[in-house]
């Protein structure tokens, strides 16, 4: 577009008029201020009202006149003009080499986003990246080494010895070094369990992120996620949830609408097991492949069902999906390392106080007998879904540490108190059962009190209802796992 024609049109003259009327110093060019005014930027409008009060009404008159002269929003008109100018510069300043045909990067990209080849690749990435690396290596090998090899062997005995000397009162001492003490449980849990799992997860996530695979995963899954009221973008918090639901709940911030954030929070609280829990449940169902498949099936079904229903019930518009697909790149080791380091550090600062708080809660709960009372209350729904009374303790602790609950089941299984059916019912119910206390606190922080409590009440009833139904199905059809 030529300069002359540009000056002739309404937009050009509006720009000139507005620039003349802007008297104050804004720190940026008057043209930019004018442009933002014309595009209806609320912040700038109130700034101009403040700095140029005498001309303000005239300026807004000019803005509204320009607006009324076009059918499309001015932001669109201005964007088209800017694009024209940019193209004008590019045409003169850039040269493109002869195209070399399709590069190998693009070929790999095509293979990744074609559903025929892309879905197997996605499953492989999730299997090796999450299940093998985080689950087997992080939650298995590393946790085992740090917990049993370092804490239980050296640190715990040492700390207990020291505290016996400095604190003579048994009750107070148990706050620090008791079965659920701040150091013996809180710190140990954070360092021995969370640290290796979260670190391995963040490494895997950073590699997936930096390679540019994430948007490709998102575009593959978008259609599926639309059915449960989410867009492909939500794949990020959902995959993160397999690492840690608390962190994933925080990442739901990146979703564009309130409705999507709420659906994602509900699904994370209910049906996405975190890596700590996943690890223990997988080892619980080891040697019971049919039981494992029933567990996978029921949890998937619940995920899809609850997502589908909430997308139908919750008000608001459906999600829309758009995402840049950057070129594939080999992740840089230093970047992966730096990202992992900052995230782990941040995570620790956020999560360590929560674990210490949890230890204090458990201490108070046991001291005052509140825990015994809650355990007794829990035995009712536990009996209702056909499990032995002892499982109630595991469920109660499951609220404080999701995997601890599953760990409690492990002890009961070892003692031979579970039938195959009961074990599967217990695993399913516990997976769906209340999110851990850290996630609950995060739900409050991100979604507010009412939503967080509402979600928890729903999850509590829903988990036991599913447990009941599965148990009923087992009994009705005479299934023995």
């Amino acid at each position: 577009m030529s300069e002359q024609k540009y000056a002739d049109d309404v937009l050009g003259s509006s720009f000139k008029k507005i620039e003349l009327m802007l008297q104050a110093d804004y720190g940026i060019s008057k043209h930019s201020i004018g442009s933002l005014l014309l595009q209806g930027d609320d912040e700038i409008i109130s700034l101009v009202k403040l700095k140029d009060p005498e001309n303000f009404s005239k300026i807004m008159e000019a803005v509204n006149f320009a607006k009324s002269s076009y059918n499309d929003p001015l932001s669109y008109i201005i964007a088209i003009q800017n694009q024209g100018k940019a193209n004008y510069i590019i045409e003169r300043a850039m040269e493109y080499g002869p195209s070399k045909g399709i590069s190998y990067r693009e070929k790999i990209s095509k293979v990744m986003i074609d559903p025929l080849t892309g879905i197997p690749i996605m499953l492989l990435v999730l299997y090796y990246g999450i299940y093998k690396f985080v689950g087997d290596f992080g939650a298995g090998v590393l946790v085992n080494f740090i917990e049993n090899g370092i804490f239980i062997k050296y640190i715990n005995p040492l700390v207990i010895k020291i505290f016996i000397k400095i604190i003579p009162w048994e009750v107070l001492r148990s706050l620090f070094t008791g079965e659920y003490g701040i150091i013996t449980l809180g710190v140990r849990y954070a360092v021995a369990l969370i640290f290796p799992i979260v670190t391995t997860f963040f490494i895997a996530f950073a590699v997936i992120e930096d390679s540019g695979y994430l948007p490709r995963l998102a575009l593959l899954i978008d259609r599926l996620f639309k059915k449960i009221g989410l867009s492909g973008r939500a794949v990020i918090p959902m995959v993160l949830g397999l690492g840690c639901d608390t962190m994933a709940t925080m990442v739901t911030r990146t979703l564009p609408t309130k409705r999507e954030r709420l659906i994602a929070t509900i699904l994370l609280a209910l049906a996405v097991p975190c890596s700590a829990q996943l690890g223990v449940i997988l080892s619980l169902l080891e040697g019971n492949p049919k039981g494992l498949w029933v567990w996978v099936g029921v949890i998937t079904l619940v995920f899809v069902f609850v997502g589908f229903v909430s997308s139908k019930i919750l008000p608001g518009e459906g999600p829309s999906f758009y995402m840049e697909v950057p070129p594939l790149r080999l992740p840089k080791l230093s970047n992966v390392f730096l990202k992992t380091w900052t995230r782990v550090k941040w995570y620790f600062i956020e999560i360590l106080p929560v674990f210490i708080l949890v230890s204090v809660f458990i201490w108070i709960g046991q001291l005052t007998g509140i825990f015994n009372f809650l355990t007794m209350l829990l035995t009712y729904p536990i009996r209702w879904i056909g499990l032995p009374d002892k499982t109630a303790v595991a469920f109660l602790f499951g609220f404080f540490r999701r995997d601890y609950g599953a760990g409690g089941l492990y002890d009961i299984k070892k003692a031979g108190l579970f039938t195959g059916n009961q074990l599967v019912v217990a695993c399913i119910t516990l997976t769906l059962f209340l999110p851990c206390v850290a996630q609950f606190l995060m739900n409050i922080k991100e979604r507010g009190w009412r939503a967080a409590v509402g979600i928890s009440v729903f999850v509590l009833f829903f988990s036991f209802s599913v447990g009941y139904l599965v148990n009923l199905a087992f009994n009705t059809f005479g299934i023995n796992l």
Binding site: D72, P73, S75, Y76, A79, I80, Q83, G84, N87, K110, I113, D114, P115, P215, A218, L219, L220, I221, D222, R223, L224, K226, S231, G232, S320, F321, Y322, M323, E324, V325, P326, P327
Partner: protein, 213 residues
Amino acid sequence: MKLNERAEEILETLWVNNEKSPGEWMDLGLAKDNPEIDELLKLGYIKLINNRLSLSDKGMIEGRKIIRRHRLAERLFTDVLDIKEKLVHPVSCQFEHLLQEGIEDDICVLLGHPKTCPHGKSIPPGECCRKSQKDIKKIISVLSEMDVNQKGKVAYIYTKDNPTLQKVMAMGVLPGMAINLVQKYPSYVFQVGQSQFAVDKEIASVIYVRITK
């Protein structure tokens, strides 16, 4: 000599009847005292025997042209101008008479030689359709209906939803930008400028592209 609207409508009715049940003669009925009937008879467009009407060969050709204009107009109003469904038929009825011969072929080219009207009835092909038979392509197509690997330039963005428009703009999809479709399923993947984006069907349906290749 140009026929008037009433006369054209009579030819239209007869042609549609012949399309439904070929060879059947139509009852003259209420059209009995119409001056247009006499005129059409005089000009040799229709045949009248025992109060029953039928098209002559000449009338057949003329009727076919009118129907073609009518159904193309319906396509134009539905696809491009987005006129409410209820209004499509009446507006097209008026519009068909305004189309000069030859202009309907331009519309036909613009719409990509559509085969049926919005109600699913077939549009009689014109000369332009026969010419383009080897190489059927639309001049303007919505991104969601383009073929994979088809290239073009963004023609316009059509949406009444401001947030959607903002999203499209944020991707740098603006009139005049070169665009090509990389993949259609499960999501729409396209290249615009030097960047690739993935969008869902809702967003892909507001981007209109002038096809170049």
